[in-house]
Amino acid sequence: MLSYTLRRLFQSGFVLLMMSFLVFVGVYAIGNPVELLINPQADDAERVRATIAMGLDKPFYAQYLAFLGTASTGDFGRSFVFNVPALSLILQKLPATIELALFAMMIAVVVGIPLGLIAGLKPDSFVGRAIMALSIIGFSLPTFWVGLVLIMFFSVHLGWLPSNGRGDTVDVLGIPVSFLTWDGLTHLFMPAFNLALFKLSLLIRLTRSGTREALLQDYVKFARAKGLSNTRVIGVHVLKNIMIPIVTVIGLEFGSVIAFAIVTETIFAWPGTGKLLIDSINQLDRPVIVAYLLVIVSLFIFINFLVDVVYSVLDPRVRLGAQSGGGH
């Protein structure tokens, strides 16, 4: 187990290095930040000064090496736009995005898996078919469109929920969270639901197909023959066996939920990292883009690692780090 973890850590370091290089190259290729930030009425001397101030006058490799040098001490440079350390800007906004993503995932799992189970157990009933139809609608519509329709209906038309922003926060272990206040919950609900809709539909479908397959397996027949109650058969045996693809998807999807939060955060003006990223991309604020990606990649790597560990717990047939045909 230890050697496996060490190997993963080493590989992760490599991944981070690759990422930082790719982002540097990418943002460099898009355009010149000075063009975007400089006041158009500034004269040439001003442009030269700004270019030097942002370190953009040096050749590309010199800029990258300088970045690596300071990055090893945890300093990812200062945002071109805000002039605050890029890393602290990201970390400041990260709790908001994680909170949104976690709630979205929670809604998707808590609503999706039971609905998918029902649809799988009674695929030809009216309820089963209705659930499937709704799930199709759920992932057919683009997130930004659904978001606006939600705002139009619940905020403008009914006036029940606020249309943007994050609610009051309280500090838990130094991190501000908003779901523990009522105001926070009302602000959280719509964006979380908007973000969850796609994953919800996906989970319903996956659970349904997994359930239908599992019900036909021998072990289910055997369990029933043994006289186990239906609840136990489904709740324990079936559920455990269909969890693998579901867990993969949840793990994978959490990452994509954070990525797709970008659009939701823009519509709902949710003060998270997604919104910050879009603005930074539009203004070519390279230090922030790099810091964001490195933080997110680290998060993904960690999640992937967790997912692999959970696999081995759930399915004894999967061995971590096993060679082909061998065993530990």
Partner: protein, 547 residues
């Protein structure tokens, strides 16, 4: 599975603990907030208000980033010597009067009995310190040094009189100084940009005091009850940054904010019909225009004949072709259908009533037949193929404008392609002269047409600071001479007529194609009214209860 169960029950146990902790700390936070507001005295009628802004405010340091949204919001806390009114005419702010003693010397008399937010007195020392600090802000992506550079010497005569010497005659000095916020020497001497963002150094003389700044989210200010300019109707003002246009409108409709700026044109007719809201608008100092490639003599980029072969001559260098391209555009249709009436057809770089605009110039008449004739005269009876380039996230309806122009051109026989892209890509490439027909915008901060002509149409010469944003590289020596003389004429009347002559020269030569002036629109609840401004600033000082 046993482990999973144990972990799960463990987690369950922490939830009630977390909840109790949260509720008690939340309650504590609330009570402390209440006591602090009770301490400040406020008039009974003053109340809190929320405003939705279109762009993010990037810093609370007034000298860090010279960009419209920052300048607009920081005007609440800091003030310049001279301030523009809603028509960009110069009015006294921290300076009560100013005059040019000779061509290169100016005397400014400063206002007496002004106090900084921390109580200390405002004197000429603060002004001198400000001018020294402006060019020395570390990491500034766009500093204000352009405005203070002309001043080569500062002399303090007495605590309320100051003399500036300029390197050359600079009639626009007072106008330039409207951009420079004065900061306190005592506070600013050791302050960094971070200190301004945290509020420690955000001490100004303005009608509001700093309360809070959360990057990319909101700015909160509170009324300065000792303000020299009199009482404000608002106690606490919260500026929310709502960059998505739909979110901004939704926030107004749902009551989250009471005023928004930059109302999307699509929603204007709905809001006008809605009796709960009021709209106010004004022609701004921003013109939308097209720059034409005039520096390539042959085989211009993105311009070919209809078969795709490169052209021997650059058609855009022919005055007749430029005239035709201007005549082919139905500006009234763009104004009414694309901009929903929120624009004014343009004949030059600033709307009427701005300093230096010529009454003799009128928007080009829409005449597609005449345009086709001119094209034939110039040697292009069957037109040619051209790609129009424009941004899609910078100006109001920019992508739609580019497409509509393409429609008009396709009707006079030109095969048009439209390529719009995000500004992060567009401006870099446009400045590298990769395009032939560029849809662009320009907001003249000084309010005088001379500066616009200088930046956009003067021959490109960075050593002299001329034509810095002349992306078409239009070059007309006679125009350069006329403009150059105008820019150093100190007498206002003489300068105005000289600028008008220069403008007429450039427009008759179609140095660029002016399209329209943007009209800025603000929307408020019916109980409020906003006095609109040409500089597009959104100021709480211009917001009043509707009576």
């Amino acid at each position: 599975m046993i482990y999973a169960r144990r972990i799960f029950t463990g987690l369950l146990a922490t939830v009630p603990m977390a909840l109790t902790y949260a509720v008690t700390s939340g309650a504590a936070a609330q009570t402390s907030a209440q006591t602090s507001t009770q301490a400040a005295a406020k008039p009974a009628h003053a109340r809190d208000i929320s405003i939705g802004l279109q762009a993010a405010i990037t810093s609370m340091d007034p000298h860090y980033h010279n960009v419209g949204p920052n300048n607009s919001t920081l005007r609440h806390i800091f003030q310049p010597l001279v301030a523009p009114d809603e028509n960009q005419k110069l009015t006294p702010a921290l300076a009560t009067s100013w005059r040019a003693i000779d061509d290169t010397t100016w005397e400014f008399k400063l206002r007496k009995n002004v106090r900084w937010h921390d109580g200390s007195a405002f004197t000429a020392d603060d002004v001198a310190f400000t001018l020294k600090r402006v060019p020395n802000v570390p990491n500034s992506p766009s500093s204000f040094a352009t405005f203070t550079k002309p001043i080569i010497d500062v002399k303090i005569v007495d605590p309320h009189t100051i003399i500036f010497k300029t390197a050359f005659p600079h009639p626009l000095l007072p106008s330039d100084l409207t951009a420079v916020a004065i900061i306190s020497k005592a506070v600013g001497e050791k302050a960094t940009t971070d200190d301004y963002n945290s509020g420690k150094a955000a001490i100004g003389t303005g009608p509001y005091k700093f309360v809070e700044y959360v990057a990319n989210q909101r700015v909160v200010v509170k009324a300065n009850y000792g303000y020299w300019g009199g009482e404000e109707p608002w106690d606490k003002v919260t500026f929310k940054m709502l960059t998505s246009p739909a979110a901004r409108v939704a926030a107004l409709l749902s009551g989250d904010v009471e005023m928004i700026e930059t109302v999307p044109t699509a929603d204007i007719s709905q809001l006008e019909k809605n009796t709960k809201f009021a709209l106010s608008n004004k022609v701004s100092n921003r013109v939308i225009y097209a720059h034409l490639n005039q520096h390539q003599d042959k085989a211009p980029v993105f311009l070919t004949d209809k078969a795709g072969k490169a052209l021997e001559k650059n058609p855009l260098k022919d005055l007749r072709v430029r005239k035709a391209l201007s005549m082919a555009i139905n500006r009234d249709a763009i104004v009414s259908r694309v901009m929903e009436g929120r624009a004014v057809a343009a004949s030059q770089l600033l709307a009427d009533n701005f300093f230096g605009t010529s009454r003799k110039l009128k928007p080009a008449k829409f005449d597609p037949e005449g345009a086709k004739k001119l094209l034939a005269e110039a040697g292009y009876p069957n037109g040619f193929a051209m790609t129009i380039h424009g941004p899609n996230n910078r100006y109001i309806n920019d992508a739609a404008i580019a497409q509509t122009i393409a429609q008009f051109y396709s009707r006079i026989g030109i095969e048009v392609k439209v390529d719009t892209m995000p500004s992060s890509v567009y401006f870099t490439r446009a400045s590298k002269l990769e395009f032939s027909y560029m849809v662009l915008g320009w907001g003249t901060e000084s309010g005088e047409q001379g500066s616009a002509l200088r930046s956009l149409l003067a021959t490109y010469d960075t050593t002299k600071g001329m034509g810095v944003t002349n992306r078409g590289r239009y070059s007309n020596p006679a125009f350069d001479k006329a403009l150059g003389e105008a820019l150093v004429t100190m007498d206002d009347k003489k300068r105005e007529s000289m600028i008008q002559r220069a403008a007429e020269m450039a427009m008759e030569d179609v140095g660029l194609i002016p399209l329209h002036y943007e009209v800025s629109t603000w929307a408020t609840t019916k109980a409020l009214k906003y006095i609109p401004r040409t500089d597009q600033y959104t100021l709480a000082m211009n917001l009043k209860p509707a009576k």
